[in-house]
Amino acid sequence: MSMKQDTSSPSTAEGMGLFERFLSVWVALAIVAGILLGQLAPAIPEALSRLEVAQVSIPIAVLIWAMIFPMMAQIDFTSIAGVRRQPKGLTITTAVNWLIKPFSMFAIAWLFFMVIFQPFIPEALASQYLAGAILLGAAPCTAMVFVWSYLTRGDAAYTLVQVALNDLIMLFAFAPIVVFLLGISNIQVPWNTVALSVVLYIVIPLAAGYITRQSLIKKRGAEWYDNVFMKRVGPITPIGLIITLVMLFAFQGEVILNNPLHIVLIAIPLIIQTFLIFFIAYGWAKVWRVPHNIAAPGAMIGASNFFELAVAAAIALFGMQSGAALATVVGVLVEVPLMLALVRIANKTRRHFPADAH
């Protein structure tokens, strides 16, 4: 527990169960299952797609809320009071997440999709992939960062504060950043559609999570909330994620079958961006002599993404069959192996940082 004498690193198996360690495998299986569903029983996705209210697919909205609500319900916004405790760490993570990450994602994705991969991807589809990458770049990790922080022996109090701060910023910054970057990419999305997706997939789950948390803690206590309520509700997120992916690929079957190579092409800029953001934040922390238990979680939150929000926004803005939705899913596909590679890098470079701040 005390990090002063402990120089060992937790094993991946301790922090992650079978499901999360092999997430890429389950995502790949969900892709195959979705494609098979779309090809063998197309009536099912077609029937589900007709259940719409104000152009919002009700089954998809329910799945997305199932993914996002549990994460929002575990955010402790009173932690925001701790923003003054690790000013260097929070300055780095806030600047990287909101002033660098969305724009570097846009720049890298634009370079690959619109220039380097021009011979392989039709222009209209390339714009869609760019849009998906923009959505990924504008949403930093919200929940998985606790697992990455554990695997790098990150400071618990700091991790809580940075998650609360980033979620609060996301509430106000996600829509303007997305609209701006889509605008300069000549991808027209009506403001009211973006505003609706922000209300549906950020404001409502966040408010519902906050109200649920406050009222249940008041009624039953924080211990019951953590150990009973969240224990039941928390695992809904990954289940919702996998079902959403099956649904998504039931609609995406033709795109994937016609362009199987596109998954690899989409993954390349996403992988480069993940490493770039990690090294910017981690290197900055090294220059500022930030302790390792702050530097590692600070770099991890930006490197990882809030996939559920990106997938939700892509579906809301561009539809289930869109290239944008496909691009956000490729982000999920590569997430765990990439982040585990960064965990290994962080643990191997621990000695280059000052002793842990406690």
């Binding site: 527990m1 997430l23 009173t78 701790g82 998985m144 606790f146 618990a156 928390g234 809030f306």
Partner: protein, 97 residues
């Protein structure tokens, strides 16, 4: 690390205003892609089931703490104002579930 858990003066005053009881426990946080980890949290209330905790009389208060969190050099402090005022644990890493 002589203390079970060190409690800062301001935190001690806050705990004494609220009934002289402190619980330091592990709170699980779930990852969006699965997995979970524990963070140490402090509250000025008694635990639901005290038998799951180690009990100490410490600095004039009753302290209930998760056995994994004792003698680890942890420090309890208080921060924020009005509704945001809360206790927090310094010195704890994120732990395995």
């Amino acid at each position: 690390m002589d203390d079970v858990i060190e409690i800062e003066e301001n935190a001690l005053a806050y705990i004494k205003q609220r009934g002289n009881v402190l619980t330091v426990r592990l709170s699980p946080r779930h990852g969006c892609c699965g997995g979970s980890a524990n963070v140490a949290v402090a509250e000025a209330i008694s635990p639901k089931d005290p038998s799951l905790f180690q009990r100490y009389h410490h600095q004039g208060i009753t302290l209930f703490t998760d056995p994994k969190l004792t003698y680890q050099g942890l420090k309890i402090n208080v921060e924020g104002f009005w509704k945001l005022r809360h206790l927090y644990v310094e010195g704890a890493s994120v732990l395995a579930r």
